[in-house]
């Protein structure tokens, strides 16, 4: 039945070849390659919970009298946006857990993007030919941050309303076009009645569509260029060593999606986030102390707090102080970030293709630059909670503020210097990062003690581990003797079939089900098929075409 259906489509669309190739595609297996996946899975959770929220949220600034389930606000004049969020939280079944999952997923989403970006940066995965994907990645980060801010603003509560107020002032601070920009976006002066519906359209339609499109491009390019891999045994610039798409990688990734969703669901169910009913409706004359944005905007808030109130004039006009930390800083940040592959190319003059990753210790100068820059933003991030830190540690707010003003210049060079020295040191010690071999203490006949290093792990040992895996995983195994051929090495060794023959890849197609051109037939090798049991039992090797 399945074979017939598959054949029906294959005869019309010719999908068998592509599907077969896809199912056999090799993905390098390393936990750090799964950081980007966390971001993607959080995004899927965001889409599902977000769709649920749109069913109940009313994007309107129209004022109504609230008579809902939350009594401390009974009879208050609130906007429909705020009232519908309260209704969502108190009267809609599972509404609050969905809202909280959405918010936690957003926090995890951006955090995963940042950690993924750090992995890509420190391992040099952005080098040729992956510059385009790096640029797309930085665009995804910007869109994620912007959409997080928009979503945070939609409930129209006291805390987020203050954030919108700040955003309005930031737009106003842009020289020449600022007032036009601000009035264009807000449809007039702050607060107006247009901003909630406009943010809503951006938040649920335009920016998610952009994110989904760029994410698709990000993945398609990754698929086309194939994944990078760490240096190691059997890995070269010309091959990909890892597990195949089906079933190993697909099941692994599917399981990881459920784990990510589970963590977000647990947070959404157990830990309260953004209790807007305690904050109340945003009214411009009301303000609460201790207002922070969500964490991914923290570095901008921190920069705003640290900026001294200088009056800087240019071209005969005063440029508002806000412009420098809130417009110029992110502008420089994201431009430099997006252009980094090209900046590095200018410095290193390296125009070669790279599919093997650097270990951060191998390139101390890049690691040092990355750590220094990261330290700068981490200090800014902590500076956004000056008041909470001052209150928690019973310090003067002014002391904390001035402390951060100094730290923001002192910490990055120190961090960069330390990172450089550590990377240099680690890189110069042979065998750093490799698994240590145990020393055994022995005693000789004379009663003297001596140590002896244990033998290196034998391939036999590795195979014993592999044998615990279910048989389904052990497929697409390749005869080690045929590696050379497959990866196009000049000197094929061993007794393989001639290149170009059906068994050229060294894969025994095994017993096939009946039928001529089925999609789901996967070339497989039973363990006995690998001569001398020296094959690559768990994964496979893909050709980097």
């Amino acid at each position: 039945m399945i074979t017939q259906t598959a054949d029906w489509f294959d005869e019309r669309l010719g999908i068998a070849k592509f599907t077969r190739k896809s199912l056999n595609k090799i993905f390098p297996d390393h936990w750090s390659f799964m950081l980007g996946e966390i971001a993607m899975y959080s995004f899927i959770v965001l889409l599902f919970t977000g769709v649920f929220l749109t069913l109940f949220f009313v994007p309107s600034s129209k004022e109504i009298i609230y008579h809902g389930a939350y009594k401390p606000l009974d009879g208050h004049k609130v906007s429909e946006a705020y009232a519908s969020t309260l209704n969502l939280s108190f009267s809609v079944r599972a509404g609050l857990v969905m809202r909280q999952m959405h918010h936690w997923a957003a926090n995890v989403f951006v955090a995963a993007i940042v950690v993924h970006l750090c992995r890509v940066f420190f391992t040099g995965a952005f080098r040729k030919p992956r510059e385009i994907n790096w640029v797309i990645g930085t665009m995804l980060l910007i869109l994620a941050i912007v959409n997080g801010f928009l979503g945070y603003s939609l409930p129209d509560d006291l805390i987020s309303g203050t954030g919108i107020r700040i955003a309005f002032s930031i737009l106003l601070s842009v020289p020449v076009v600022g007032s036009y920009l601000a009035f264009f976006l807000f449809g007039g002066n702050f607060p107006g009645h247009s901003i909630i519906p406009r943010f809503y359209a951006l938040h649920i339609l335009i920016i998610p569509a952009l994110i989904a499109g760029l994410l698709g491009a990000h993945l398609a390019i990754m698929w086309h260029q194939k994944h990078t891999q760490y240096k190691g045994k059997g890995k070269s610039e010309r091959n990909v060593v890892g597990v195949a798409m089906w079933p190993a990688y697909a099941l692994q990734a599917g399981g990881f999606f459920f784990l990510t969703a589970a963590v977000i669901a647990i947070l959404g169910g157990l830990v309260q986030i953004n209790p807007i009913w305690l904050y109340g409706q945003y009214i411009p004359y009301k303000v609460s102390y201790a207002v922070q944005p969500d964490w991914y905007m923290g570095w901008l808030d921190g920069a705003l707090r640290l900026m001294p109130s200088w009056e800087i004039a240019g071209f005969g006009h005063m440029i508002p102080t806000v412009f420098f930390p809130a417009v110029l800083l992110p502008g420089i940040t994201f431009t430099a970030l997006a252009l980094w592959p090209f900046i590095e190319k200018k410095i290193t003059k390296d125009t070669a293709e790279h599919h093997l990753l650097d270990n951060p210790r191998d390139v101390p100068w890049r690691t040092s630059v990355g750590v220094g820059v990261l330290a700068f933003y981490v200090v800014l991030f902590f500076a956004s909670s000056t008041d909470v830190l001052a209150n928690s540690f019973q310090l003067s707010l002014n002391f904390v503020l001035w402390g951060f003003r100094i730290l923001v210049f002192v910490v990055p060079p120190i961090a960069a210097f330390v990172a450089y020295k550590v990377a240099k040191e680690a890189g110069s010690v042979p065998g750093t990062g490799r698994r240590k071999r145990a020393n055994v203490i022995l005693r000789n006949a004379q009663g003297a003690y001596y140590t002896e290093q244990t033998a290196p792990r034998s391939p036999q040992h590795e195979e014993e581990v592999a044998e615990e895996l279910p048989e389904e995983v052990v497929y697409h195994a390749l005869d080690r003797n045929h590696h050379g051929e497959l990866v196009g090495s000049a000197a094929p060794s061993g007794a393989g079939g001639p290149a170009g023959s059906p068994s050229h890849s060294g894969v025994d197609l095994g017993p096939l089900p009946s039928g001529g051109s089925g999609i789901f037939r996967i070339p497989r090798v039973r363990r006995s098929a690998a001569p001398d049991g020296n094959g690559e039992p768990i994964g496979g090797i893909g050709d980097r075409g």
Partner: protein
Amino acid sequence: MSIERRRAAKLPNLKRRVLLPAAVGVAAAGITTLALLPQAGAAQSNNPSDLGNYGYTGSYIYGGTPSKGGGPITYEKLNPASIPYGKTLFLENCSTCHGVEAQGTTRAPNLQGLGAATIDFWVSTGRMPLADPTVQAVQKPPRFSRSQTLAIDAYVSSLAPGGPAIPNVNLTLANLAQGESLFSTNCAACHTITGAGDALASGVFAPSLMAATTTQIAEAVRTGPGNMPRFGPNTLTDQQVADVVKYVDYLKAPNDRGGIAIGHVGPVTEGFVGIIIGLGTVMLAGLWIGGRAK
């Protein structure tokens, strides 16, 4: 008879057996929900009389002649017989800085005519006696028992007339929703909207309201301790003070429907939990699933 035909024959029977109870169940649930909804609403709804009296009633009595009315705030009647004991306590614990007649010295202000509420607030919250007058007083376990505190209050307020008496708030006559409105307008700018408190500037801070009793909250509103503004009877009526007190009292254990409250300080702790616990846990899961360096 083939299986299909037997199934077809059973279908109407099945329908009757399953669909009817289901329909009855849905209808019953619907009716119950409809019946319960207004009740659930009414259970917490505000009595119209709560909305009542916002005008200045004149029940706000200064000095040593407190009222015993039935309003939202009644005033403590201090016992004149405790004045000598209060004087002893004052001389032992307070006079070094405030002077033997509470007239003030170079170290501490004159207390005469401030009223019993002022004295009661500072002593009952443990802020007085104060070790170092150059830093903001913090709440700590009070040195005196309630009767000792009242004796000191009685003594100091007997020295000169004036100032508010000690308020007792009747929360059943206060309106929570009005309290929220007044709190967010007048208090949240320093104490934060959740009452968690925050650092202000140069070592000055707005304390957390979580440990304050209803009487202490009303005293603070009426007397304006430290940097806090004083809200007199022409700014907030007794009813309004009671409303604010009711909301602050509610904030001590608010509706944390979402789960663990993580400090009520907003995105700072939320970001911490999101990054460390959220992303951290998922990364550990990734480390568990994914391969390691070989």
